[in-house]
C-alpha cells in the first residue's frame, strides 16, 4: 500500500518536474526575444542618454564619452525641443477630448436601439483604423489641399473661404488632428460599444420616462456606468497622441514653421538625421516620463472621482 502510494507520488513529482521544464522551454524563446530586443534597448536608452554618442562614436566606439546630464541640459536650452514639447502637449490636450468625444458619440449612435443594419455601420466606421497610416496620410494630404481639396470644396458651400490647412502654422495642427481623429476613433468606438452594451436599457428608459433630457441621461446614467472604460480609452488615446510620428512625417514634414514637429519626430531627426544618438535617447527617456506622468495623473483623477 505504502509502496504504491510512493510510486504515485514519485510519478507526480516527475510529472511536476517535467511540467516545469516544459514551462521554461516553451516560454524562454519569447522571453529571450523580449529581453534582447525590448528590455535591454529600453534600459540601454537611459545609459545612452548620459553619453555623447554621435557619428564619431558610430565610426569608432573609442570616441564615446560619458557626459552626465549634458544632453538633458542642452535639450532644455534647445528651442526646437520646447517647440516639439509644446506641439505634442497641444496634440494631447486638444486631441484627447476631441477623439474621445467623437468615439463616444459614434458608439452611442451605433448602440442606439432604433438603429437598423448595425453591423454594416460598425464595420464602415471601424475601417479607417486598419488602413495603412502612411497611405491614408497621403490621401488626406490631398483632401486637405487648399485649392483642389474636397474639404475646402465642402466648406465653400457654407461660405467658408479656402483654408490653407497644411501650409499655415495655425491650421496645420488641427488639420493633422482631423486626420488622426478619422483614423483612430473606430478603435475607441468598439471598446465603448462593448461597455455600452452592458448598461441596462431599463435604466436609460426609466430616466427617459421621468423626463430626463438626452444630455442629463448621458451625464447621470451612461457616463457613470462606463467610467472605467472612459478612463481606459483616455489613457490609450493620450499614449497614442504622445507617439505621433508618421502623420507629420508624411503630411507636413514637421512644418510649416515647425508647427507640427512632435517629440517623436524630433527624436527621429536627432537620432537618425543628425546621428546625435545620445541626445535622441535623452528625448526618448523624457517622452517615456511624460507618458508615465500623464497616465498617473489620469489614474489619480479617476480614483478621486470614483470611476475605479
Amino acid at each position: 500500500m505504502s509502496a504504491q502510494r510512493r510510486t504515485v507520488q514519485n510519478a507526480s513529482a516527475v510529472g511536476r518536474a517535467g511540467e516545469a521544464r516544459a514551462g521554461w522551454a516553451m516560454s524562454s524563446p519569447a522571453l529571450a526575444a523580449i529581453l534582447l530586443f525590448f528590455v535591454l534597448p529600453a534600459i540601454a536608452s537611459l545609459f545612452l542618454s548620459f553619453t555623447d554618442f554621435d557619428i564619431y562614436a558610430l565610426a569608432d566606439i573609442g570616441n564615446l564619452r560619458f557626459v552626465g546630464l549634458a544632453n538633458y541640459e542642452r535639450l532644455l536650452e534647445n528651442p526646437l525641443f520646447w517647440k516639439a514639447m509644446t506641439n505634442t502637449l497641444l496634440f494631447v490636450g486638444i486631441g484627447t477630448p476631441f477623439i474621445v468625444a467623437l468615439s463616444l458619440f459614434t458608439a452611442m449612435l451605433v448602440n442606439s436601439r432604433w438603429l437598423k443594419w448595425r453591423p454594416v455601420w460598425r464595420v464602415a466606421l471601424f475601417a479607417p483604423y486598419v488602413t495603412t497610416l502612411v497611405a491614408t496620410a497621403v490621401v488626406w494630404r490631398y483632401l486637405l489641399h487648399t485649392r483642389y481639396g474636397l474639404l475646402n470644396y465642402l466648406l465653400s458651400f457654407f461660405g467658408v473661404p479656402p483654408v490653407d490647412w497644411l501650409g499655415s502654422p495655425t491650421a496645420s495642427l488641427p488639420a493633422i488632428l482631423i486626420f488622426v481623429g478619422w483614423k483612430t476613433f473606430g478603435y475607441n468606438m468598439i471598446i465603448f460599444l462593448a461597455a455600452l452594451q452592458t448598461v441596462p436599457r431599463e435604466l436609460d428608459e426609466a430616466a427617459r420616462i421621468d423626463g430626463a433630457s438626452w444630455f442629463a441621461r448621458l451625464r447621470h446614467v451612461t457616463l457613470p456606468a462606463i467610467g472605467p472604460t472612459l478612463l481606459l480609452v483616455s489613457v490609450l488615446t493620450v499614449a497614442g497622441m504622445f507617439q505621433l510620428f508618421a502623420e507629420p512625417y508624411v503630411m507636413t514634414q514637421g512644418g510649416p514653421a515647425q508647427s507640427t514637429v512632435t517629440i517623436l519626430y524630433f527624436m527621429y531627426e536627432e537620432g537618425f538625421k543628425w546621428w546625435n544618438l545620445g541626445s535622441g535617447a535623452a528625448v526618448a527617456f523624457l517622452l517615456f516620463l511624460c507618458i508615465l506622468g500623464v497616465t498617473l495623473v489620469q489614474l489619480r483623477l479617476a480614483k478621486r472621482s470614483g470611476a475605479i
Binding site: 519569447a30 529600453a42 464602415a124 483642389y148 478603435y187 517623436l264 537618425f272 544618438l277
Partner: protein
C-alpha cells in the same frame, strides 16, 4: 417610433459615408487620367477610367518589388510571432513552473513602456549584430510581442486542467499536449493573433524607415512616404500607390473582421 428609427439610421449612414468617403475617393482618383484630379471643383469620378497609373506604378516605379518586400516581411513576422508567443502564452496560463507569476507581473509592467523608447539602442544593437539594412532587422520587434502572449494566455485560461491532466496520465509529453490538444482549441485566437501581427507589420512605418536603408528592401509604406515627399503634384499616381498599399489589409480585415474585433476586445477590456 418608425420616424425615430429612420432618423437614427439615416444619421448613422451619413456618418459612415463621411468616414469611408476618403477611401472611396482614393480608389476613384487612382483611375483618373493624369492631372484630372487637380481641378476645381474636384471631380468625384474619373471621366474615362484608366489603368495607366497602375501600369506606371508597377513599370516605372517598380512597386512590385516593394509589394513583395511587404508580403515577405509581414508573412515572416506573422509566422515567427506565432511560433514565439503561442507556446509562451500557453505556458504562462497552464504550466506550473518556478518564477512564472513573478515573470508575468514584470511583463504586465513592461506593457506601459512604448517600443519607441528603445529604438535608438535597438538600432545600435542590430548594427553590432550585422542585421541593420536586412529583412531580419525589420522582423526583430515582432518576436518580442508581449501583447500576443497576453492574448494567448487569456484564451488558454479557459482550457480545463482535467483535460491536460488526463493526457499526462495517458503518457503524452508536454510537447504533444501542446500540439495535439491545445493548438486545435486555440484556432480562433491564432487567427486573431495572426491577423493582428500581419496588419501591424504591414502598416508599420517608423521601424522599417529606420532599419531599412537600401531602397531594394523598402516596404510599401516606406516607399510611399519617400515618394510622397517628392511627387507632390502627381495626385493620381500617389492615390494608386495608396490603393496598392492599403487595399490588401483592408480586404483581409473585411474577410476576417469577426476575429479582429473579438481579439481587440479581449486585448483591451479584459486584458
Amino acid at each position: 417610433m418608425s420616424l425615430r428609427r429612420w432618423s437614427v439610421t439615416l444619421l448613422a449612414a451619413l456618418v459612415a459615408l463621411v468616414t469611408i468617403a476618403p477611401l472611396i475617393w482614393m480608389v476613384s482618383v487612382s483611375f483618373m487620367a493624369r492631372g484630372e484630379a487637380a481641378q476645381f471643383p474636384p471631380p468625384l469620378w474619373p471621366e474615362s477610367p484608366t489603368l495607366e497609373n497602375y501600369r506606371l506604378l508597377f513599370g516605372t516605379f517598380g512597386v512590385g518589388r516593394f509589394l513583395l518586400n511587404s508580403i515577405l516581411i509581414s508573412t515572416l513576422a506573422t509566422g515567427l510571432a506565432l511560433l514565439f508567443t503561442i507556446p509562451a502564452g500557453y505556458a504562462f496560463a497552464k504550466l506550473r513552473f518556478k518564477g512564472r507569476d513573478a515573470v508575468f507581473r514584470l511583463l504586465v509592467a513592461a506593457l506601459v513602456v512604448p517600443g519607441q523608447i528603445g529604438m535608438l539602442p535597438l538600432f545600435l544593437e542590430l548594427k553590432a549584430m550585422g542585421l541593420v539594412n536586412s529583412y531580419a532587422g525589420a522582423l526583430v520587434p515582432w518576436l518580442a510581442g508581449i501583447f500576443g502572449i497576453f492574448l494567448v494566455r487569456q484564451y488558454c485560461l479557459s482550457i480545463p486542467d482535467e483535460m491536460l491532466e488526463a493526457a499526462r496520465i495517458d503518457g503524452a509529453s508536454e510537447g504533444q499536449i501542446l500540439r495535439r490538444i491545445v493548438l486545435p482549441i486555440l484556432t480562433p485566437i491564432i487567427v486573431t493573433l495572426a491577423l493582428f501581427v500581419f496588419l501591424g507589420s504591414w502598416n508599420d512605418f517608423m521601424w522599417p524607415l529606420i532599419v531599412l536603408a537600401d531602397q531594394d528592401l523598402y516596404t510599401l509604406p516606406v516607399a510611399l512616404a519617400a515618394n510622397s515627399r517628392q511627387n507632390v503634384q502627381d495626385y493620381e499616381i500617389m492615390m494608386a500607390g495608396a490603393v496598392v498599399t492599403t487595399l490588401p489589409v483592408l480586404i483581409l480585415f473585411l474577410a476576417l473582421q469577426r476575429h479582429y474585433l473579438s481579439g481587440l476586445l479581449t486585448g483591451s477590456v479584459k486584458g
